[in-house]
Every structure is written in C-alpha cells, then in structure tokens.
C-alpha cells in the first residue's frame, strides 16, 4: 500500500469514526490518489460542515460557553473557507468533489440530524464530543494526507497556516467538554 493510499484510507476512516460518534457507521471510502482540486474540495467541505454545526450550537446549546464555542467555529471555519476560495480562485483550481468530500458532507448531515434531536445538557455534551472527534480527525487528515498530498506550494503553505486553528479549536473543545457535567 502506497503512503498516499494509506493516508487516504486513514482520512476516510478518521472521518468515519467521527460520524460513528452520533450516527450509524458509514462504510469507509477508499481512494487511490488525491489532486489539489480534490484537496480544495475536501478543505471547503470540512470547514463548511463544521461552520454549519457551529450554527446549530448557537441555536441549540444551553451552556453559554458551548454556545460561544459554536459561534467561534462558525466564524473561524467560514473565514478559513473564504481564504481557501480566494486561493483556489487565484490558482485557477476548480474544487473537484471526491468520494471523501461527498462522504464528509453526508456524514456531516447525519451528525447534524442526530444533534438536532437533542437539547439542553445532552446536546451540549454530544456537540462538544463531536467537535473533539472531528478536529482530531481533521488534524490527522491535514498532517497525513492533505499537506503531504498538496503539490501546489501556496496550497500547501495555506494548509500549514490553518493547522494551528484546528489545534486551538481541539484544545478549546477538550477543555470545554471536560468542564461539562
């Protein structure tokens, strides 16, 4: 198995694990390669999914800190996406959907549906648990698949520059989750 194939399998399995946290386990998607256009679509989808999840937390969270975290996720992930869209426009790369980006969207929709059925402290705990798992998976994907797989230097540099955002989000999520009763 090539390094790239291993990475993509890991990427798919990582996101599958996230989906498992709140919905039935989807089948892992396996891909044999990845292009910059596919990376762009994965990045845009991953950010969009978590921004929407943030909107849901703003609407449904009962804990003020969880609500604020959701607001920050919505703001930050949309800001990262704006930068990503500007970059791919500049590079004249059209994001191309792949099995991974489609699965990210489908899993995101499933998690949103599951979370929408919860409220109060149950929602807060489920949302923060999801955020910990999601950002853990995203960081693994960025480190092991997206950064190594990017061929364009600016795309690679952008992925490197957004990594600290995901790490900060993960640390924040872990701290909040630990504080929830």
């Amino acid at each position: 198995m090539s390094v790239r194939f291993k990475g993509l399998a890991l990427l798919s399995l990582s996101f599958a694990a996230v989906a498992c946290a709140t919905s039935p386990a989807p089948e892992p998607v396996k891909s044999a390669g990845i292009s910059d256009a596919e990376i762009a679509a994965i990045v845009v989808t991953a950010n969009a999914v978590d921004a929407e999840m943030g909107d849901l937390a703003v609407a449904r969270a009962s804990n003020a800190d969880v609500k604020q975290f959701g607001k920050t996720m919505a703001t930050d992930h949309r800001a990262v996406n704006q930068a990503a869209v500007e970059l791919v426009g500049k590079l004249k790369v059209t994001p191309v959907e792949s099995a991974t980006s489609q699965k990210l969207r489908a899993d995101g929709d499933a998690v949103k549906a599951a979370l929408s059925a919860k409220s109060g402290a149950e929602f807060d705990h489920a949302y923060m648990s999801h955020e910990v798992a999601y950002h853990t998976a995203v960081i693994a994907a960025v480190d092991q698949v997206l950064i190594p797989g990017a061929t364009n230097a600016e795309l690679k540099a952008t992925l490197i520059s957004v990594r600290p955002a995901f790490v900060a989000h993960l640390q924040h999520a872990e701290k909040l989750l630990a504080g929830l009763k």
């Binding site: 790490v167 900060a168 701290k175």
Partner: protein
C-alpha cells in the same frame, strides 16, 4: 536676560518629557508574540492579526478590549494604567499574554 533664560529652559523641556512609544504584538498561529510586553502608561500597543480568523486582545479584568480584529488587520490600545494586566483572545481562550505597564 530673564526672558532669554526662560527661553533656554523651555527649549530643554521637550527633552525631559518621556515620549509615548508604540509597541507591536503579533497574533500569529493562535499565539501572541511576544507573550509578555513591558510598556509605560501612555504607550500604544498595536495588535497585528496575521491569522486567517478574527481575534481580540482583551484584559482579563475587562479594563480594556481591542474589540474584534479581523484577519490580516490591526487595532490599537493606549495603555491607561500601571500594573500587570493579563489578557486573552475572547474567541480562543488558549491565546494568553501579559501586559506589564510601569
């Protein structure tokens, strides 16, 4: 003669009044740099956000707040009081720093 002496004294005054300084704190990779900044009351701190997401620099005691600093933008704070003043980013609680005003 008295006027002349007074004129000379006035000339020297600006040299003895401390000039307010300008300091820059970078917000990059979700960290303040430097994390501790030593300033004087009256100095200006420029908060320069190099990240792709918004940040704030906000005193923990609420005494001052840069307000929202969009990506790639900056804001300024004029130091108003003495003492050690820990600050954070309101959006990202892991971003912490200390302002020490003498």
């Amino acid at each position: 003669m008295t006027s002349y002496v007074l004129f000379l004294i006035l000339l020297t005054l600006p040299m003895t009044v401390p000039q307010a300084k300008r300091h820059t704190v970078d917000m990059s990779a979700f960290q303040f740099s430097p994390q501790t900044i030593v300033v004087a009351v009256g100095d200006t701190v420029v908060w320069q956000n190099h990240d792709l997401v918004p940040h704030t620099a906000t005193a923990r005691d609420g005494a001052w707040d840069s307000g929202n600093i969009p990506a790639k933008r900056s804001r300024m704070t004029v130091v108003q009081k003495k003492g050690k003043q820990p600050f954070v980013c309101l959006y990202h609680s892991n971003m912490k720093g200390n302002l020490v005003a003498k």
